[in-house]
Subunit: 450 residues, 2 copies
């Protein structure tokens, strides 16, 4: 068994202490905001029945599910002369969760009698996807989701925007929160009589600034819109300027398109709430935002970092029938998901992780031998009782070896307890950054390190 | 896709908010102690290569590994007319981790150049075992491990005992820490010339109090020990009384048995360190303790709750060659693992979870309509900025409905902002436990709720 090659599966990661400290800083920040807004934590199992997961993420998603082999006599009666996608479900009953949303829907339906609605839940757990690994895309990664389900009030949407604002303000990342509404997009498509062309239309609107009106019209024509339909998009192209201007124009646009009118009214109300609430980060209406069209039914959110070129670092929206797939229809909900890996990359690029995350030990006691060690152990116990992360070097090794270890652990203070300190009940403390030393009583030491 | 049956795989669990709060209380307590002792967090992937896992847990363990089906054309060239244990490794390259120890060993070898030795790591992550589910045994459960690797000093053992003491003192669980040493057991077996009978011997010693010396001797005879061997166990049976008495007797027992002498010396030194350190919980030598014989090489720990009948709630020990299986021999380490599920059961039985874990919201604002809602949103923002978990009911629903929700969420305070409060800049706060109400300024409200 000797010399097995050490490696981990493609697309997975080990996290070393400094990475862990930085990741925990992100998770703790997000969690603290979820808690301040009185969301409740839940966890669901990593393994779900494949019947729960299959068919929820499209055909591509089904392929990307990690399937877990059944135990026992799984091969009996299976015809292996078929392709993978026929055989896999016959020898695998369970799979690793692909996201937190489908398990959440299953959870709500299964435990509905034990939950207080509107139910506000947060969930920070890993998910798995058998995607081709590439830069920034992993086969195991954490999602950080918050959802409120069982209320149609737009106050929920406001609170999500406030939470986004609070998370990124705490993390020191300047962001723009982009908001759109699925009903407005549906209204536009209905208005021009091309409901199936929503994606083409939003892509085209998105290019207006770059390629101009003529360019956009040419592209729409290529994408199969008729001249009449393109003509009918006129009022949409006219929606320019800041959020206030766009909102005012939207109001008048959907004369006879009910769904569009409803969407415009929702956007108007939400932006009024946002204006009144005083959000620090930029929040704007973005009619080109079209994420998760087959899924969302109302507001859609996406958050972009302003100072780093990277994809969206948070997103979400309202859905009206998430639990319907599990037999509990007509329960509206709205939620957001923070992308911890991208947030990590943004904080790294901006060099904005707190410096003290590197310090997993606040102080290390040098070990001069059994008697001194005993004295250090007693002092260390008092520091640890005050939650001060404390090391006692485990052997009376050479000073250089002990100091090297203190440096590798990035310990900010090293403590010396020799003969005179033992006699006086003191500690000599060295500040590793400045090199300065001072002799302190134990009470002073605790005060200094706390 | 409608009406899919909602269930989760056998042996897995959903955790509802109150269970989560209680589990997090346990994890946070353990983590705070790991941090106070300057252990560093790491995480390893849920999926490991099967080559890393197979053969590390015995034949039975190999069967209990959850194996993940390969993607793509996994069936080509596989002869399915063989039994499961031949076929599985051909169609599965990866499996879910079975414990945190083998991945930790793999991690240390793989990242050895980036780690500061002695490396002190903690790891709180789920593990998976395809065991038959039963009461208290799950197929997915968390392990909470702390290990120090790269040092043979017994100060490490002392620190683990201190950590056990601190965790259970914080949790309010009275425990007994039982300690033994693998070398002493090896010494006893060597002394009587029956190294393969260690388990039989420890089982017999364990029954001494119950069935007496004659009963034990009869049982040992049944288990295949010769009369001469049983006779030679005399000095072991004579090891009775408290830890001090046993330690004193041990010292003289191993006249010519080097490994036994070494073990006795280690135990003596460790118990001296423990006596000097002032541990609150009971710590005792238990020569019948024999966990993980094929694995541990020095000290062995096991922790029993004193006031609840349940198996061990924490255990661990020293190993001298954990990383050897991955080609990095002779690195000694020592570690412990807390059993979160059993600790949960103990705290439940003792009814010792803090009452405030039930309160995921500290205050809820009643919603009287748009103008009042706006006032509440502004006050709520100030509370949330102070990390006070705050709800604003999302609709101006009937009072009864809003109060019912507050009760279901177990909110300790409900806040009313009506016309007069808006005019005066105040809040009327109702204490849900006592029913008493008072009108407060916002500053007073923050002070009260913080």
């Amino acid at each position: 068994m000797a010399n097995v090659k050490c490696s981990i599966p493609k697309g997975t990661r080990d996290f070393l202490p400094l990475e862990m400290a930085r990741r925990n800083y992100i998770f703790d920040t997000i969690r603290s905001v979820f808690r301040a807004f009185a969301f409740e934590p839940i966890e669901t199992p990593s393994l779900e029945n494949l019947s729960t997961l299959m068919g929820k993420y499209g055909e591509e998603g089904d392929k990307l599910l990690f399937k877990v082999l059944n135990s026992g006599d799984f091969m009996e009666g299976v015809d292996f002369h078929q392709d993978y996608h026929k055989v896999a479900p016959q020898i695998c009953d369970r799979g690793l969760r692909y996201d937190l949303t489908v398990p959440f829907a299953r959870f709500v339906v299964q435990h509905r009698d034990q939950l207080a609605f509107p139910f506000r839940r947060y969930q920070l757990q890993p998910v798995w996807r058998a995607d081709r690994p590439q830069k920034g895309r992993y086969r195991e990664f954490y999602q950080c989701d918050a959802d409120m389900i069982g209320s149609t009030s737009l106050l929920n949407e406001l609170e999500l925007v406030q939470m986004i604002d609070m998370v990124f303000t705490k993390l020191g990342i300047n962001v723009c929160v982009k908001i759109n509404n699925r009903k407005v997009l549906a209204g536009i498509a209905e208005m021009i009589g091309a409901p199936e062309k929503i994606v083409d239309i939003t892509v085209a609107i998105d290019k207006l600034d770059k390629i101009g009106l003529d360019g956009v019209c040419a592209e729409l024509s290529e994408r199969g819109l008729t001249d009449v339909q393109i003509q009918a998009l006129g009022p949409v192209f006219a929606l320019s300027g800041d959020t206030g201007t766009k909102l005012a124009a939207l109001d008048g646009m959907f004369a006879n398109v009910e769904v569009g009118k409803k969407g415009a009214a929702e956007l108007n109300e939400l932006f009024s709430l946002i204006a009144a609430a005083g959000i620090s980060n930029r929040v704007e209406l973005d009619l080109t935002l079209a994420r998760g069209l087959n899924y969302y039914t109302g507001a859609i959110f996406e958050v972009k970092a302003l100072d780093v070129q990277i994809g969206s670092i948070c997103g979400g929206g309202r859905y009206d029938n998430l639990t319907g797939i599990f037999g509990m229809p007509d329960v509206s909900g709205v939620g957001i998901s923070f992308g911890a890996d991208r947030i990590y990359d943004v904080l790294t690029e901006l060099d904005r992780f707190p410096a003290d995350l590197a310090h997993s030990a606040r102080v290390m006691f040098i070990n001069f031998g059994p008697a001194e060690q005993a004295a250090c152990v007693a002092i260390a116990a008092r520091l640890r009782a005050q939650s001060i992360a404390t090391l006692v070097y485990p052997d009376a090794a050479k000073m250089k070896k002990q100091m090297d270890y203190a440096n590798r652990r990035a310990v900010p203070f090293v403590a010396f307890v020799g003969e005179s300190e033992m006699r006086d009940g003191t500690v000599t403390l060295k500040d590793m950054a400045t090199g300065s030393q001072e002799t302190l009583t134990i009470a002073q030491l605790i005060e200094k390190l706390r």
